[in-house]
Every structure is written in structure tokens, then in C-alpha cells.
Subunit: 446 residues, 2 copies
């Protein structure tokens, strides 16, 4: 059973509409950060809210003691936007509990998971007055927009944030009760393509036939990103992709997760992806070119016979070792410019990005993480990569020199980034216990 | 000079937000129809508002007398939607006059033009107590949505609406002070393409690579509508297209309107269209496939890394003699289904449509129209086709057996269907005079 005070804390946290990408929620971001810092202080840590050029970062610590490892727990208090709002059964910032599952934006990603760590620490400190490690919480407000200012923050505060190992619960479990350790993540590179044609929307009768249509052009440009077999058709895109290792391919074949799960979770009529690869390899170890949004012209009720003046596409590329985001976006830009049809001009704007990450799950801290997961769930964990991107994990290695243990509690049907995001209370409770096992195991790695 | 009462009438008419495609404006449609019927009665006609299954139709008449031709003047009181609203310099339903030009949605299309006819009749009746012809006004509220219910209305009221010739001012002039008679129009066939993929928006990291993306798919489907040379790539699309006649090609070469005008009016970097045809032929005598809107996924500020559940495109096809709208949409449907990629389902919804129209400008009534235009503007008119569609004009011929004289007053830069639609007051005044010359000329066609 979860103590009522813990559940109240989760409900309070979830009620903040802390949408980092939308500037109209700036005040909500500050309010949410303030609430979380107060919670960390109540738990018994020293907590400070540090400004950045974007949303603030929270840093909280216990007293340092010599002779024990320093652990950095990373998480984020910002959430994804909520549209399409009409598909939510309950309002996204009014948490609703049904059959032991809590529904709200941020329930899984990442408020439920990071709060479990905070409450685990609070329990240990309340019972023992001390933690087995030197602990630092680093909780940011820009994860959903690419951790824009966190790299500079890490560089500026590298002494204060120095650590031996980092841990994060912002990844997935393969299924209910299946402990899962993630040792690799894809990187990401986002961009926006703007397509310009006539100076204003035109009557499609008066001019149709004699001028290029930006909505047709954006379709052509987006279409040019792939070939018929699902390969990305940008020249040079795959040049630096590192192939999957033999042990990984073998381990993945035996995982309790595969095509039938993906079919059920997504509701697609059939799976489709790059020819020549299985689904897990496509998601975890192959790069993609996705269109996250496309738009132009009239999208309302009925019809409006215009040639739109502009159109656009929001693009993101998931990257794998050893692809580089900036190099990839440059290849894409050159490709799109080469494909730009007559009568059209394009603008290509690079967005946020992050490099891919890979660690060795058989390292001493990796084995300690496996021990903690086994103690929490009563069975040995699965080792996987993930298709999502947590760019800061690569940055933590590059700036602080520490690997990150990814001990996620997100279920495959958690609907992160989608309407009706949810988190089972049993995972919230497991997260609290996991924190206690983890800090104990990391105190004596090996 | 325009009498102040005439200008007040125009301002009142333009203030009604009579957007027929948007059901939230239904009350505005009724209010606008009521206002117009009252105006027609004030002019001295008997006017009735007749309901349809959609927006009401207004019919107004003078007393019938034997031995003179019956003329039907057709127009519409509905207007196009106004978005993107932020591009309007003044609010679209708050008419603004600057340098002798009135800016408002509907200023040219069609409120300014039809009201000029009403006021011309009012002047003649006020001065002479009688018109030289039997006159019927037929003013509908669904032109911008394809005159959905007007064909049934014409069939039901064919006796009441019987006429020898129809006239309409809803077409263009080639330039300021250049009288223009339009003898051909393109038809239209509208459709909506809906693209379905996952059951809900998906996290593009967690699933990206293993499922088809509906935003990518809509791009592929839209792209498949054309080849690289701007030809429509739907099999069979051009089978029934009638070639341009030699006299038309010759006449069009000498018109005071061409590529440089189109470049200036549209602001495109360069013209583009079907290879092998000039701009006027592309617009007036060749069919097109246009994307009026495309949409899917996240289009707001910043980024949202989703694979959208659905996407859509609003399509319209401009048709020329002897293409048929229903046959054309069936060809398009078959083509799109043949192009549907794996992992995607599509829905194709036919929208409104209208057949193309062509008349002989050298007929007796055609010559009478030319006389009226010459009397109004002091120079002989140009004879052109137009790229737009007024489906009801074909229906008037099919149901009532009468041709329609198209004596438009819309300038090339009137921005019909676009932000900042406008109409010069000199054209409003010319329209009032044109009505008087036209009724006189039609009384004795030659």
C-alpha cells in the first residue's frame, strides 16, 4: 500500500501543466519547480532552484561523506503538450485513478518516476537519518524540448555535479513486473521545413495550373525522405550507422516483447519499416526519419478552394551510434534543397538534437543495477536498448565522465506523449522500493 | 459619384459574416438573406426567400409582360471563410475604404457585383417605372460550397425560373477598365482524403521505425497525383479533355494579360505548370489537381515527437470540357487506393462538384452583351475563358435551357478567397451602369 501522503504528493505534482515547449506555460513551469524543491527539502535534502536561459533546474543534495560513491539521479518535471485534447477521457492535468492506474499528462513521463526516487530517499532518511551514498538530484524542465540549456548548465556546474555513476528512471519496462535495464538510446535531430510559394493564398480556379502549390511541394519533399522499402533516402544518412552486435541480436530474440506486442499497443493494421530488419532492431538500433507534423492550407470544416501560400513539415530523425545530429541535419538540408521543385522556395530550420548513447551493461555499476532490479521485482532483469532519446544521458558522460543506469518503470501501454498517458500505482510503489535497493547496491558495486 | 445610399447598402451587405461552409454561421446566412430580400423589395421587385435543405435562396421578379425576353440574373450572398485571419489588415467583416477601394470578405466575390445589379434595377425602376425586359433575380447562399441544393431548386422551380438568357457578374476583368466577357469556365470536383495509421498518436522514439507514419503516407499519396513535369498522374485523367480551338489560341495570344501579370499578382518566384502548355491555356483550358489543405500531427509552437494517428488532404480538381466530375473522382479514388502504402488505411470522401461550361460568344445574346460592355466602358470587350468554377451556370443551361452571359467586374488583384479581398468603387459604379446597358441591349438582341 502506498501511504496517502505519497499519493497526495503525486496528485499535486501532476496538476501542474508544466508544458515546456509552450511559452504560455512559463509561469506553470516556475510554480512546478518551486513545488518540487519544497518536496526535496521536506525529504531532508538541501535543494536549490537554479535559473537557466530557459526553464529552471533543481539541484538537491545530502551531506557529502568521504569513502562512498557519489550518485546523481536525473529526471525532469516538464511534460509534452496535450493536444489532441478531445481524445483525453479525463482532462490531462486533473489526475484520475481507475483500477489502480493513474491517468494524467506526465504520469509516467517523468513525474511519477522521478517522484518515486524522491519519496524513496525521503523514506530512507526518515528511517535511518542517512543515505548509503552521496546523492545529488538533478531535475530539469527542458527534457521534452531537447534539454536545450542543460549541457551548458552541466559544464558550468561540473564540480558541484561531479559523480561516479548516474541513474535515471525515464525509460521502459518490457511489461508489467518485468524488470528492465536499458543500456542504449537513440539520439535525435529535429528540424522544421518551411515551404514558400505565392505571396498570399490564391484562388485555385483563377491561378491553378500556372503556379506551383506549396502543399503539393511539401508532399513531394517529405515523400523524398524515404524509398519504397522504408529506407531513408537521404544520401549518406546510413554511412556512420554501427551494426548490431551478435550478442545483442541473440539476447533480443529471447525477450518477452515482439511484433505481436507492438501490433497490439499501436493498433496499426500491420507493421511496416525498413526492409531487411526486425522490429526491435528497427526501433532500437536503426535510425529513422519521421514526420511529426505536416500542414498547409485549409484544414477546417468543408472546403476552401485555395492554393496555400505556405506549408510546413516538422521532422525528427532518430539516430544510432555513431551518427552525429549536426552532420545528419546538414545531409537532410542538402537533400531537401536538391529536391525543391520549381516555383517554390524552402527554409530549413534545425531544432533541438542529442547524440545516441550506449554503455556496457556488464560493468560493476551495471551489475549493481541488475541486483537492485532483481531485489525489487523478484526476477532477473532484461537488458535492452530503447528507441527514444534522452540526450542529456550522453551529455552526462561527455561532461561528467559518468555512465548512466536506466532503470525505467514506463509500461509499453503508458501512452507517453499521447492522450490518456498513465502510470500504474504498483509501478509508483515499486519505484520507491527500487530507489532504496539501488542506493544500497551502488554503495557496494561489483 | 456613387450616391451615399448605394455605398451604405454595400457596407451593410458586407458586414454579414455569411460564410456558407461553416455551420456556426447559419444564423448569419439567414440574416443576410433577409436583408437582401428587403433591398430587392425596396428596389421595386417582388422578392421571396425560399428555403432549401441548406441555405435559403432569394427569388425576385418584376411584372411579366408578353413580347419581351426574360432575363435571369444570378448571384450569391455567401462568402468564403476568412482564415488565415491574422493576414487581414482590417477585420474581414468591417469594410474599410482606402484610395477608392473597399476591403472586406465578399467585396468582389460576390456581394459588390450582385448588389450593383440590384441597384441598377432600382435606378431604372425609380426613373422609368418599368424595366425593358422580364427580370428574375436568383441569389443563392451556397455558391462557395458548390451550390449544393440549387440544382434541385432549379428543377423544382423550372417554370417560375424559365428564361431566355441568364447573366452573372461573378467573373473577372483582365485589368482595370478592360471590359471582359467570359464564355467558358472550368468545372470542379472536390474530395477529402483521410489517412489512418496507429489507433492513437505514438511516441516517435518508442515505435518509430516499426510502424508506418500517416503524415509520411499522406505525402506519398499527394505526391503520386503529379509527375515531375506537372502532369496529373492519375491514369485516365486526361482522356476526355477537349483541345483548345485554333481561334481561341490566336485570340488569347493578343490579350492584355499574360505571364508577367500572373507573376506580379501571385508573387511566386517563377511560374510552374503542366509542360507543353502556356499559362493561359493551363489556367483556362487544362484540368488540374490541387491540394487545398494538408494536415497531420503537431503543427504548434516548438516540437512534439509523435507519429500522428491520422492525417488528411483536401483535394480539388478543376475540370474542362468534356470531363465529368463523378468519373474523375472515381479515377482519383482508384489511383489513391492503388498507391496506399503498407500499414495504412485510407478513406476517400467525394465533396461538391460541378461540370465545366462553354458557350458561343458570337450568338445574338453574346453580341448584345458585348454591346452593353462597350457602352459601359467605352471600348470593345475581350473574350476569355476562366479557370474558376461556377457550377450553377452549367446547371442553368441543363435545366432551364438558357446560356449565361458572364460579365465580371473582378480585377486580377481582388484577392477573392484570400485575405484582404477588395473591390474598387469605380467597378461598383460601373456595375450599376452595366446593368442598365445590359437590360436595354438584351431587350433587342442582335
Amino acid at each position: 500500500m502506498i501511504p496517502p501522503a505519497h499519493l497526495d504528493a503525486l496528485l499535486e505534482f501532476l496538476r501542474f501543466p508544466s508544458i515546456s515547449t509552450d511559452s504560455s506555460h512559463r509561469a506553470d513551469m516556475h510554480a512546478c519547480a518551486g513545488w518540487l524543491a519544497a518536496r526535496l527539502r521536506t525529504a531532508g535534502l538541501e535543494a536549490v532552484i537554479r535559473p537557466t536561459e530557459g526553464h529552471p533546474v533543481i539541484v538537491a543534495k545530502n551531506a557529502r561523506r568521504e569513502g562512498r560513491p557519489t550518485v546523481l539521479i536525473y529526471g525532469h518535471y516538464d511534460v509534452q503538450p496535450v493536444d489532441p485534447l478531445n481524445l483525453w477521457i479525463h482532462p490531462p492535468f486533473e489526475p484520475h485513478i481507475e483500477n489502480g492506474i493513474i491517468f494524467a499528462r506526465g504520469a509516467t513521463d517523468n513525474k511519477g518516476q522521478i517522484l518515486a526516487h524522491v519519496l524513496g530517499v525521503a523514506e530512507t532518511l526518515a528511517e535511518q537519518g542517512e543515505l548509503p551514498v552521496n546523492l545529488t538530484f538533478l531535475i530539469e524542465g527542458e527534457e521534452e524540448i531537447g534539454s536545450t540549456h542543460l549541457e551548458a548548465f552541466l559544464i558550468e556546474h561540473r564540480q558541484e555535479l561531479a559523480c561516479d555513476i548516474a541513474a535515471v528512471s525515464d525509460t521502459g519496462m518490457l511489461g508489467r513486473g518485468i524488470p528492465t535495464c536499458t543500456y542504449g538510446l537513440r539520439g535525435i535531430a529535429c528540424a522544421e521545413l518551411l515551404v514558400h510559394g505565392p505571396a498570399q493564398d490564391l484562388h485555385s480556379g483563377i491561378y491553378g495550373g500556372a503556379v506551383a502549390n506549396p502543399a503539393t511541394a511539401v508532399a513531394r519533399l517529405v515523400h523524398s525522405l524515404h524509398d519504397e522499402d522504408g529506407h531513408v533516402a537521404v544520401p549518406g544518412f546510413y554511412d556512420r550507422v554501427r551494426p548490431l552486435e551478435a550478442w545483442e541480436r541473440e539476447a533480443w530474440e529471447n525477450l518477452p516483447y515482439g511484433d505481436s506486442d507492438i501490433l497490439e499497443l499501436t493498433g496499426v493494421p500491420e507493421l511496416f519499416g525498413e526492409q531487411g530488419f526486425g522490429s526491435l532492431e528497427r526501433i532500437w538500433a536503426r535510425p529513422t526519419a519521421e514526420v511529426n507534423g505536416i500542414g498547409g492550407g485549409y484544414q477546417g470544416e468543408g472546403s476552401k478552394t485555395v492554393i496555400p501560400s505556405t506549408s510546413m513539415a516538422k521532422l525528427s530523425f532518430r539516430l544510432v551510434p555513431d551518427q552525429d545530429p549536426a552532420d545528419t541535419l546538414e545531409l537532410v538540408r542538402l537533400h531537401l534543397e536538391s529536391q525543391c521543385p520549381p516555383g517554390i522556395r524552402i527554409t530549413f530550420r534545425a531544432g533541438h538534437s542529442g547524440r545516441p548513447y550506449l554503455m556496457d551493461p556488464n560493468s560493476p555499476y551495471g551489475r549493481a543495477a541488475a541486483t537492485a532490479l532483481e531485489s525489487t521485482f523478484g526476477r532477473s532483469p532484461c537488458f535492452i536498448r530503447e528507441g527514444g532519446s534522452i540526450p542529456i544521458i550522453r551529455t552526462i558522460r561527455d561532461v561528467l565522465g559518468a555512465d548512466t543506469l536506466m532503470l525505467g518503470l514506463a509500461l509499453p501501454d503508458c501512452r507517453a506523449h499521447s492522450p490518456n498517458e498513465n502510470f500504474p500505482l504498483e509501478n509508483f510503489e515499486a519505484g520507491i522500493r527500487l530507489n532504496r535497493h539501488l542506493l544500497a547496491a551502488l554503495a557496494e558495486p561489483g
